[in-house]
Symmetry: C3
Subunit: 319 residues, 3 copies
Amino acid sequence: MKKFTTVSDVENLQEIIKKALEIKANPLSETEKGKGKTIGLVFLNSSLRTRLSSQIAAQNLGLNVLTLNAAQEAWNLEFADGAVMNGDTVEHIKDAIEVLNQYCDIIAVRCFAGMKGKEDDVNESILSQFEKHAKVPVISLESATRHPLQSLADCITITENWKKDHKPKVVLTWAPHIKPIAHAVGNSFAEWMQEMDVELVIANPEGYDLDPAFTKDTKVIHDQDEALKDADFVYVKNWSSFDDYAAMPEVKGDWMLTNEKLANTNSAKVMHCLPVRRNVELSDEVMDGENSIIYQQAKNRIFSAQAVFSEILLSLSRF
Amino acid sequence: MKKFTTVSDVENLQEIIKKALEIKANPLSETEKGKGKTIGLVFLNSSLRTRLSSQIAAQNLGLNVLTLNAAQEAWNLEFADGAVMNGDTVEHIKDAIEVLNQYCDIIAVRCFAGMKGKEDDVNESILSQFEKHAKVPVISLESATRHPLQSLADCITITENWKKDHKPKVVLTWAPHIKPIAHAVGNSFAEWMQEMDVELVIANPEGYDLDPAFTKDTKVIHDQDEALKDADFVYVKNWSSFDDYAAMPEVKGDWMLTNEKLANTNSAKVMHCLPVRRNVELSDEVMDGENSIIYQQAKNRIFSAQAVFSEILLSLSRF
Amino acid sequence: MKKFTTVSDVENLQEIIKKALEIKANPLSETEKGKGKTIGLVFLNSSLRTRLSSQIAAQNLGLNVLTLNAAQEAWNLEFADGAVMNGDTVEHIKDAIEVLNQYCDIIAVRCFAGMKGKEDDVNESILSQFEKHAKVPVISLESATRHPLQSLADCITITENWKKDHKPKVVLTWAPHIKPIAHAVGNSFAEWMQEMDVELVIANPEGYDLDPAFTKDTKVIHDQDEALKDADFVYVKNWSSFDDYAAMPEVKGDWMLTNEKLANTNSAKVMHCLPVRRNVELSDEVMDGENSIIYQQAKNRIFSAQAVFSEILLSLSRF
C-alpha cells in the first residue's frame, strides 16, 4: 500500500480486516517494524480518537511520532497556488509539505472540509496538495470527503459483530444536528460498505442525499422507519445538504435515534464515529444501551491505523 | 494502589515516601515496568510542573505517554448528565472517558475547580465523572479540591529536610493574591500533613478558613505572626474564601511572607507549590533566599509521580 | 560545547560541519548517546522546522524529549526582575527556568524578538535570563538577535553545494515583506559566514542596514543588482530597520528575487530559512526552480541540531 486516502488504496479489504484483528489479538507483535522511521501526524483540525489511536498504533510499531498542531504550533498556511502572499498567510502548504518530506517517512494529515465552497471540498483542496507534493506515503486522518481509517475500523467492528451466514442489513441513518456538518464519514462509510458483504441502505431526509459519486447504486430511503426495519446494524451520523451545499433544509419528523425506533430493527447494533451530540443525534438510552458498539468502534481505531501503518511500512521497505 | 486521587488511596504513607526516595536515588531502576502500557495525561487546565514531571516519571518507567490538551486539541466537553447537546458542547465527558478506557491502561487528569459554584467544586463535578466512568486506574493531576501528587512531593521534601528527633512545626500560611484561587493545594496539604509526624498549624485571615472537612482538628490561627513563631517549615499558598465561596473578603495587615517575618521562625524552610506571584505571595528575598526549598519541591514532583505510577502499575499486573 | 547560542560557542566550525555530514550519512549511529537524559524544548513562539527537526535529532540520539508550548500549555510569564506580580503574569521566567533545571539535562528555547524595544531585543531580554539562570546547557532555537541552528544548517548546505577550489561569493539579500520582521536570521547568517571561507556581501535598501555588531567588516551594498553580480549563493531574507528600530522605511525599486535577477548571478543557488512569503520575498519560479536548495537547507536542520546536541551531550558526560 503506497498511500491510504480511500478504499481504493486497499488491495484486499478482507485481508486487511483479518490483519487488523490479528493485531488486536497481539498489538505488540511488530514493535521493530517501524524502528528508525518517522511518521508525522499533522492536524489542521481537532481530534481526540484519531490523535490518540494513531499515536498508539505508531508506538506499537516502534515508529517515531511527530505530532504537529499546524495552526497553533506552526504558521498560518496559504493554500492557493500562485498566491501573492501579502496577507495573513505566512507559509504555503506546498512548502510545509516539502519540509515534511524531508523529515518524515510517512505523512498523515487531518484536513476537514471547509464547508464554504462545494468545489473546494469535492476537489479535496487540501488533501490534494498533500497527494501532489508529498514524496512519501500519505495517510488521511480524515479529509474533506472521506474518513477512511474510521471506515476501516467500522468494517472491523461489523466483522467482529456478525457471525451469521447471511448478509447483515446495515442502515446508515442521518441524524439531527445544530450546524452544518461535513459529509466525510457518511461518504466514506457508504464507499466501504459497498466493498463489504452487506446489504447497505441509506436513510436521510429529502434534501440531504449524499453525493451520488459515493452512494452509487445504494438504496436511499427518505423514510427512516421504513429503512430501519429489520436492520442488523444502524450507523448514526449527521451531514448537511450536498446539493444545496452545506445548507440545512427543514426536516420533517424526528430523526433522532431512540430505543423506540430501535425496536423496529432486528435488535440492531448501533454505531457512531464519535464525537456524538447526546439527545440530539441519538438518545442517552441508545448511547448507553446494550446494543451500542460505539466504544468498540473507537477501540478499533487503533487496529485500523496499525494495520494501515504496517502495510505502508511494508511498501517503504521495498524501496 | 488502584487509584490515586486522595491521601486515603495510599496504604502506607511512610512506605511510599521511602519508595520515592529510592527512585530519586535511582530513577532508571524500573525502565521495563511500564513496557507496552499506556498512560493518558489529560489536561483540562494549564500545567508546567505536573505536565513535565509526569512525562518524565512515565518515561522513566518505560510507559507510553499520550498527552492531550483536551480543550485545544480535542472537543468542547459537556459535563451535565442527561444534557440535550444542542449548544456549544460537542462531546460528553463520559464518552471521552469511555474512549480513554479503550486507549489507556492508566488515565491521569487535571481538572481545576471552576470556582463558579461551591457545590460543583466540593462534589468534584469533573473528577467524579472520571472516577465513575473510568475502567482503568485514575490519577489526579490536581482536581477541584485536592492536589495529591503535589502533597506527596511535599511530604518527600519535608522528610528530606528534617533529620531531628522531635516533630517539626509546619505552618501552612495564607498569602495574598489578586484573584480568587482554588483551595486544592491548601486542602490537600492539610490532609497529607495530618498523616505525617508533624505539628501542623494553619494561618489565614478571618473569612478565609478552609473547608473543615479538610482542616479537621488542625489548629487554625488568624494571626500570622503568632502562627509563624518557631516554625520549622512554612508553606505559602493563597486561597479564596470557602464559606463565601470564591469571594475575597478584605484582609487586615500584610500577609506576604518576607525575611522579616521569617526571622520570627526557627529558621524555617520555605515551601510553595508554584507558580508563585513574586512580591505578592512572598518577597523576592524569600524566594531567592537560602531557606527556600521550593525548587527541591518541584524536583520531587518527578519522584512523587513515579512512585505513584509504579504502584499503580503493580496493581495492573495483578489482573 | 557547554552551550549553543552563538557561533562563538563553536570551537571549530569545520569540525562540526564535518560531524553533521557524518550524521547525515548515518543518523542512527549514536542512538545510545542520550539514553536516560532529557532535553526540554521550550517554545515561546511558533515553529515548524525547528520543532520537528529538534525532535528528530533528539530521538536519533536516544534522548527523552519534553516539548512545551509555554504560552498555551503552561503559565503567562513575567520577565521583569523585581516585578510585583499583581498583574496578568502568573509565573516568573526565572522560576520556570529553575524548574526546568530540575527536570532537564539540556534546555533548548525559542524566544523571538519582541520588536517593541531595541534595547530589550539587543540585550536578549529573554535568552539572557536562560543563560543567567540555567544550570544545564542552553541551546538557542532562535532568539531575539540570532538563529544559530539555522546558520549551522546553512553552513552545512553551502559546504555540500560547493566543491570548487576558490571561495564562493555569497550574497545575503534583503527581500520585501508586509510587516516588521526580526533581524535574527540576517545577523546570524552574517556572523557564521564570516567564519566560513566565503566572500560575503550583504545587499539591502538604504535604511535597512543590519546592526554593525554583526555585519562588522562585511561589504554592505544598497544596489541589489550590483550585489548579485556573479553570486554563487543568494540567501533571501527580510528584516526591518535596525537604526529606526522595527520601522519599515520606504524602499526604492523591486527587491523580490526573480529569475530575471538570478540571471545576473553565476547561476547561484538560492537559500531561504523558511517560512517564505511566495511572490513577495521571492517568486514562485525561483522557489520551485532548480537553483533552489531551500528544502535541502530545511533537511539539514536535523543534522545541525543533532551535531549540536551530540556535542552538548559529550560535555555533560564530562561532569
